[in-house]
């Protein structure tokens, strides 16, 4: 996974609350058994004039000329709530979004972001409005700069700091694969499992009894 250290780009304000993952990628756009091919479906319900169509809705922020090449989304509270579909993050990433700045995130979506190298930045509503104001004045020159090492967001004369939990920050800064990381703890997991099996055999019995040959 690509590490996230700093990123500077055009930010697109989508200042609605509760933008759910159905809106980020409608289910009908998840056509293939794959994590790719989703960028086109990003915000499809808003981005295109007709459901399933591809004619651009000129008033939608990502279609406006001044926001071409946007790589950051500025949003309201509870971004990515609703369905757990990781396709929402895959679609954002494939479209070229590296970070989402919002005053809150759906919990599953937040984790999905970290697992895919997309940075979720949590800022207060006032900060987001102040950022949006500056961006809207001139989106192509008032770029937003995000520094994960310093936990800072900058735009024109504005600078805001944010907090990302240490674990997530570490993963993103280093572009780590959490599975590989956890597998390093395998002995500990095995040990835990042995203890649990002794203490709570009932929790293992229903399927272990059905299968030939119990585990070691």
């Amino acid at each position: 996974m690509n590490p996230f250290i700093t990123h500077t780009g055009i930010a697109a304000p989508l200042l609605r609350r509760n933008i759910d993952t159905d809106a980020i990628i409608p289910s009908r756009e998840m056509k293939r058994v794959s994590k790719s091919g989703l960028g086109e479906g990003l915000f499809a319900g808003w981005r295109y004039t007709l459901p399933g169509g591809r004619e651009r809705n000129p008033s939608f922020v990502l279609n406006r000329p001044e926001y071409q090449g946007a790589s950051i989304v500025l949003a309201g509270d509870n971004f990515g709530c609703g369905s757990s579909r990781e396709h929402a993050v895959w679609a954002l990433a494939e479209f070229g979004i590296r970070a989402v700045i919002a005053s809150g995130f759906g919990a599953i979506f937040h984790t999905n972001c970290i697992r895919n190298g997309v940075l979720p930045v949590c800022l207060g509503e006032d900060d987001i409005n102040a950022l949006a104001l500056r961006v809207q004045r001139d989106p192509q020159s008032n770029l937003v700069e995000i520094d994960l090492q310093k936990s800072l967001v900058r735009c024109a004369d504005l600078e805001c700091s944010f907090v990302l939990e240490e674990g997530a920050r570490y993963m993103l800064l280093n572009g780590l694969d959490p599975i590989a990381l956890t597998l390093q703890q395998n002995e500990l997991i095995d040990k835990y499992e042995r203890v649990r099996r002794n203490k709570h055999a009932w929790a293992f019995a229903p399927f272990e009894d059905r299968v030939e040959g119990a585990l070691p």
């Binding site: 509760n18 509870n78 990781e86 919990a107 997991i189």
Partner: protein, 478 residues
């Protein structure tokens, strides 16, 4: 941690499953069961495979075909969703390769993941269960720690048998008093979401407690916990009791004999200590809850069924005013309109919220001897094939079909739109499901969430109506 050592039910489940604390503030939690479905499970297994990781213990992993599969009687792998068959075929192939128990399209035990998991005894009190589906919180109703995850997390759980999780805070929602006649768990949870907002539970694991919760049967508790994610909770739990024991006893994957006795002895300790403290506590008087229905496009936009569509100005906060405005436009509604004047085009009974036998019984009770209004399309989709067979043994299928409803095979069906079946653009659907988001049931389809009894009564009335209002209306005409 409280100094007294008193802990909450959630804390107990959490600490029991903690393999170790990681140095970044997360815990490595042991996962007892993983459940997959064809919509996302196929991708998770495929991508795990490509990355070169193996499934740690396939015996603890289960998979069902529920999201994409058609619900027409006599269905096969073909589905109305374009490319849907690819997901079905890929899921079959990947589960077979990984040696995972699959509840396939034609399996007699197939059904919606959150319905069949407890029905099979796959989820049990005191276990952790994860599934790449946000309504996994449903299963907390029997005292399991069950929560929804993304596909990458599913891959992690499959490969390592664990997840890295940051511990949420504790919230308790205490619901005391008695629910009024005809008021259900669905009305109750809509009431809670309306009161606390769709982000009211963010950052919390919620325990539902109180006399009204104890009075609910196990199936109604699933309905209550199902919608915890709609107010952004990490998950929900309810302390297991004798009702849960009776519910699980004898289920296919429930422990048997000595194991069953051990399990019960352990389950009886699964409750919050009397002196445990919660980071947040809310109190609800069940007697204040009436039949509820959503008017907007968020589960918090709830109206009393005898009330009116609110005007955006009635909301204090500007963001609620704005979203009310948008919702009214999408739903094609005028403020001030009596809810009972909203006519409907379709009625849908199904989904992991309300598709169990007790839900079907409640709807059938209203429908029996009546006929759905002209022009209204009614669809009933049992949550599992077991539910379907049980309902047919009681003759509920006949009741529904005699009233003009379609009686389907089990699955998620029109709870969500995947490019396949929908009630159509600008159609107004009263639905027992859990999400009324824009486009959830199809492009421009308008959804009103309600309980099975209300959906059934509305189908008969042709406009939004509770069972009580339907009876009143009929007595006026008679």
């Amino acid at each position: 941690m409280a100094i007294t050592g008193a802990t909450t039910l959630f804390d107990k489940l959490w600490s029991e499953h903690t393999v170790c604390e990681l140095d970044n503030g997360e815990a490595l939690l042991y996962v007892d069961r993983v459940f997959l479905h064809e919509r996302t499970g196929s991708i998770a297994l495929q991508s795990l495979h490509t990355a070169g990781y193996a499934v740690r213990d396939a015996r603890k992993v289960f998979c069902t075909m529920d999201h994409i599969v058609d619900t027409f009687p006599g269905r096969g792998d073909q589905t109305l969703m374009p490319s849907g068959t690819d997901f079905i075929v890929a899921t079959r192939k990947e589960t077979r390769a990984a040696d995972i128990r699959l509840f396939d399209v034609d399996d007699p035990d197939q059904g919606i993941v959150h319905v069949i998991s407890p029905e099979q005894g796959l989820v049990l009190p005191g276990l952790t269960l994860v599934c790449p589906d946000s309504h996994t919180c449903t299963q907390g109703a029997i005292g399991a720690l069950a929560w929804g995850i993304g596909s990458s997390e599913a891959e992690h759980a499959l490969a390592t048998g664990t997840l890295r999780v940051r511990k949420p805070k504790n919230m308790r929602i205490v619901i005391d008093g008695a629910l009024r006649e005809g008021v259900t768990a669905k009305d109750l949870v809509l009431h809670i979401i309306a009161q606390f907002g769709t982000d009211g539970g963010a950052g919390y694991a919620v325990e539902f407690a109180g006399s009204a919760v104890r009075d609910l049967d196990v199936e109604a508790r699933f309905t209550l916990c199902n919608m915890a994610v709609e107010f952004s909770a990490f998950t929900a739990v309810i302390a297991p009791d004798e009702k849960v024991e009776a519910y699980l006893s004898g289920r296919d994957f429930a422990p048997k004999g000595e194991h069953w006795r051990d399990a019960i002895a352990y389950w009886r300790g699964l409750r919050s200590d009397g002196t445990a403290t919660f980071d947040r506590e809310l109190f609800i008087d069940a007697g204040n809850v009436g039949p509820a229905v959503t008017w907007g496009t968020s589960p918090e936009q709830v109206a009393d069924i005898r009330g009116h569509v609110p005007s955006p100005e009635s909301f204090a906060e500007s963001h609620r005013r704005e979203s009310a405005q948008r919702a009214l436009e999408y739903q094609g509604l005028q403020p001030g309109k009596p809810v009972s004047d909203i006519s409907i085009d379709a009625a849908f009974i199904g989904s992991c919220t309300n598709s169990r036998l007790s839900d079907l019984r409640a709807a059938a009770l209203v429908v029996k001897g009546r006929y759905i209004a002209p022009g209204v399309r009614g669809v009933v989709v049992p949550g599992s094939r077991r539910v379907k067979r049980a309902a047919e043994r009681e003759g509920l299928d006949r009741v529904f079909m005699d009233a003009g409803f379609e009686w389907r095979d089990s699955g998620c069906s029109m709870c969500f739109y995947a490019g396949g079946e929908t009630f159509g653009e600008f159609k107004r659907v009263i639905s027992t499901t859990n999400r009324n988001f824009e486009g959830r049931q199809g492009p421009n389809t308008r959804t009103h969430l309600a309980s099975p009894a209300t959906v059934a009564a509305s189908a008969v009335a042709g406009s939004i109506s509770s069972a009580e209002m339907l009876a009143e209306r009929e007595s006026l005409i008679a």
